[in-house]
């Protein structure tokens, strides 16, 4: 029996609002998240607003495993919410972060996640200004769940909406698709492939802000998270009532992602991304925007992957062979094939 007094795991008492909760905040959260608006630790954080529109979004993160090649649940919880604001045409300013922690989680693991969140916030230039921590009994949650809410200013240059999408518009992605979903799957199932697939988890708002300031012809943007490129394209087609035509040969997919998905019978077009967006842009500006992405922002693998046509909300893929097939929304979890 070890009678050492160190508290190396999270206890239920860490969530009861008493001394241990206070110690947890003081020792682990505040030093890393440190900023003027969080410091008072009042029930609400205050910040001034300037005229214009504010955007707000919220997202929960329950990823398993919590650490994966290219990221972790902490980085993901910051990027995911920032990117929802970014593709909505907003400049993210502040986040709130709420933690549901399973009793027994190693304190060192929690700290690693907090550090990762803090680093990602610094990289992105946003601050976490309010938060909450709850602890649930062992087995009632899986290690840790994080919910982040983000607020940001809507850029005056942004004019995004389904109603702006017109036949003739082009569709651009900022790089290869399928990495995040596959990296999680490979980490979760330990397939023992020799290849390492890295998540693309990254904040996108500096890119989207520069694009929106420069190109008035951007009609709509969407970050290609759950369901991947295909599902998100289908949602856009349905909401806009237009058809989307994608060209398989132009959709960037990393070679190792291609290989592994082929072996497992998965489709990279349906796998989640955490650092990719789709932008719908006027025909006039599409080429210039692609050049700017590649040369100005060094996103060399950006591509024009298709265009918008009149239609009834369908998504069509022109295959490498010259055939055509329709893409629908993802149904169920993508699973490797049986034989």
């Amino acid at each position: 029996m070890d009678f050492k007094k160190t508290k190396d795991v999270i206890l239920l008492a860490h969530g009861d609002g008493g001394l241990l909760t206070h110690q947890l905040l003081k020792k682990y959260f505040l030093p890393h998240f440190n900023n003027k608006l969080l410091e008072p630790l009042t029930d609400a954080a205050f910040f001034p607003v300037k005229p214009g529109q504010i955007a707000i979004t919220t997202d929960s993160f329950v990823v398993d495993p919590i650490f994966f090649p290219g990221g972790d649940i902490g980085r993901l919880s910051v990027c995911g919410t920032i990117n929802d604001l970014a593709v909505s045409g907003a400049k993210p300013l502040y986040l709130t972060a709420s933690f549901i922690i399973e009793e027994g989680l190693q304190v060192a693991v929690l700290e690693q996640i907090i550090v990762s969140m803090a680093e990602t916030c610094r990289e992105a230039g946003v601050a976490i200004i309010a938060g909450d921590t709850k602890v649930v009994g062992r087995g009632q949650a899986d290690k840790i769940y994080i919910t982040t809410t983000g607020v940001g200013y809507v850029l005056p240059e942004a004019n995004l909406g389904y109603n702006r999408i017109e036949p003739g518009d082009f569709i651009i992605v900022n790089g290869p698709v399928g990495n995040h979903g596959l990296s999680i799957l490979l980490e979760r199932e330990s397939f023992n492939f020799d290849t390492k697939v890295l998540s693309d988890c990254a904040p996108l708002h500096t890119i989207t802000e520069k694009l929106l300031r420069q190109f008035k012809g951007i009609k709509f943007m969407r970050d290609l998270t759950r369901g991947g490129l295909a599902t998100n394209a289908k949602e856009i087609a349905l909401a806009s009532g237009k058809d989307i035509w994608l060209n398989e040969a132009c959709i960037p997919v990393e070679e190792n992602v291609k290989g592994v998905t082929e072996i497992l019978g998965l489709d990279p077009l349906y796998l989640a991304n955490e650092g990719k967006f789709l932008a719908i842009v006027s025909e006039k500006e599409a080429d210039d925007m692609l050049i700017y992405l590649k040369k100005g922002l060094f996103l060399h693998e950006s591509c024009i992957i298709g265009n918008i046509k009149d239609g009834k909300g369908n998504v069509y893929l022109k295959t490498g062979l010259g055939g055509t097939r329709r893409l629908n929304m993802l149904t169920g979890t993508p699973l490797p094939r049986i034989c």
Binding site: E189, F191, L264, G265, Y316, K318, T319, G320, L321, G322, G323, T324, R325, R326, L327, N328, M329, T331, G332, T333, L335, P336, R337, I338, C339
Partner: protein
């Protein structure tokens, strides 16, 4: 007709189907092991899942297949333990760690998956893992080919044969299609070009009025197949008359664990009472698997039966003909 679910998917996904639509019709056959699993077997699996201290270990596609009254997905939501594995070897390792639970691996598949399942039993034997067993609903492809060829209503002009299955069985196992029934057949790989080559070789035979079983996948398939894999299957399994969805009983078309391995046979170890199995109402999966109907000819297709709310297994499985038609139609 192709008789492999992966071919079905590639044909639909690559656009081959609609490229050739004005020239020839490609029919899908009984190529998806999940789809051909009989309703009574699905119901048995669900009853096994309801046993206490039991974990059903399965390849993913089985989880959503609706039985008569429930599915593994529903049972899991109600508290049953269903765990998806990508290889039976992992399930044995898992069984070693959780000795207080019964781990039942669903042996679903054709000749391709049987060797890995057999090896998992060898592994469990070696490690003296007693809580691991297999429910074998394996099916064999040559017997179902005979059932298709003996169907007087079906007039298939040529067969695209399953490359993966033939790596195990060898080309010779399918010689009878040409020699006995005088129908051309070509073994195909899984790249769109492989399938187009197979179609070309079939058409060439028809033009020349010849019938042969040609190996079009020589990079992996040999005359006698994989001798070692066949030996492993032969050591652990014996052929048994088996029920197929849509076909009924086909002689010697399934694989049962030999009596000497009955300790690892979930069927022997856990005799469960299975309710009377009824096919899903209005579902034409059986006719689709027999090549009698195309998925689009099923009255439920894309209206009542969709991948998100599947009525029959052909819409559930990623390799199912209905799912392929639904997901990849133009």
């Amino acid at each position: 007709m192709e008789v492999c679910g992966t071919h079905t998917t590639v044909i639909a996904k690559s656009g081959i189907k609609n490229l050739l639509t004005n020239y020839l019709e490609l029919r899908s056959g009984p190529g998806c092991p999940v789809c051909v699993t009989d309703q009574s077997d699905i119901d048995r699996i669900i009853e096994l899942a309801r046993m206490p201290n039991t974990i059903i270990a399965s390849f993913g596609d089985m989880v959503r297949v609706p039985g008569t009254y429930s599915s593994l997905e529903l049972e899991r939501a109600r508290g049953a333990h269903v765990k998806i594995f990508y290889s039976p070897h992992e399930a044995v390792t898992f069984a070693g760690k959780y000795s207080d639970m019964k781990i039942i691996f669903l042996g679903v598949g054709f000749e391709t998956t049987a060797p890995a399942i057999a090896l998992s039993i060898a592994e469990a034997e070696q490690q003296r893992i007693k809580n691991y067993s297999v429910l074998s609903v394996h099916k064999l492809v040559p017997p179902v080919m005979k059932a298709l060829l003996n169907d007087p209503e079906l007039h298939i002009d040529g067969f695209i044969l399953p490359g993966h299955v033939c790596t195990i069985t060898g080309r010779k196992a399918f010689d009878f299609i040409a020699s006995k029934y005088n129908i051309p057949a070509v073994i195909a790989g899984f790249e769109p070009a492989d399938i187009l080559q197979a179609i070309y070789l079939l058409l060439q035979q028809m033009v020349d009025e010849k019938a042969e079983t040609i190996n079009g996948y020589t990079r992996l398939v040999h005359e006698d197949g994989n001798i070692k894999a066949k030996e492993i299957i032969g050591k652990y399994f014996e052929p048994i008359d088996a029920y197929w969805r849509g076909f009924g009983l086909i002689p010697e078309s399934g694989l049962k664990l030999k009596t000497v391995y009955s300790d690892y046979d979930a069927d022997e170890r856990f005799p469960v009472k299975v309710p009377e199995s009824l096919p899903p109402e209005g579902c034409s999966c059986g006719e689709v698997l027999r090549g009698k109907l195309t998925p689009g000819e099923c009255p439920l297709f894309a209206s009542i039966c969709t991948p998100s709310e599947p009525v029959g297994p052909c819409m559930v499985s990623t390799e199912g003909a209905c799912a392929a038609y639904y997901n990849y139609s133009d």
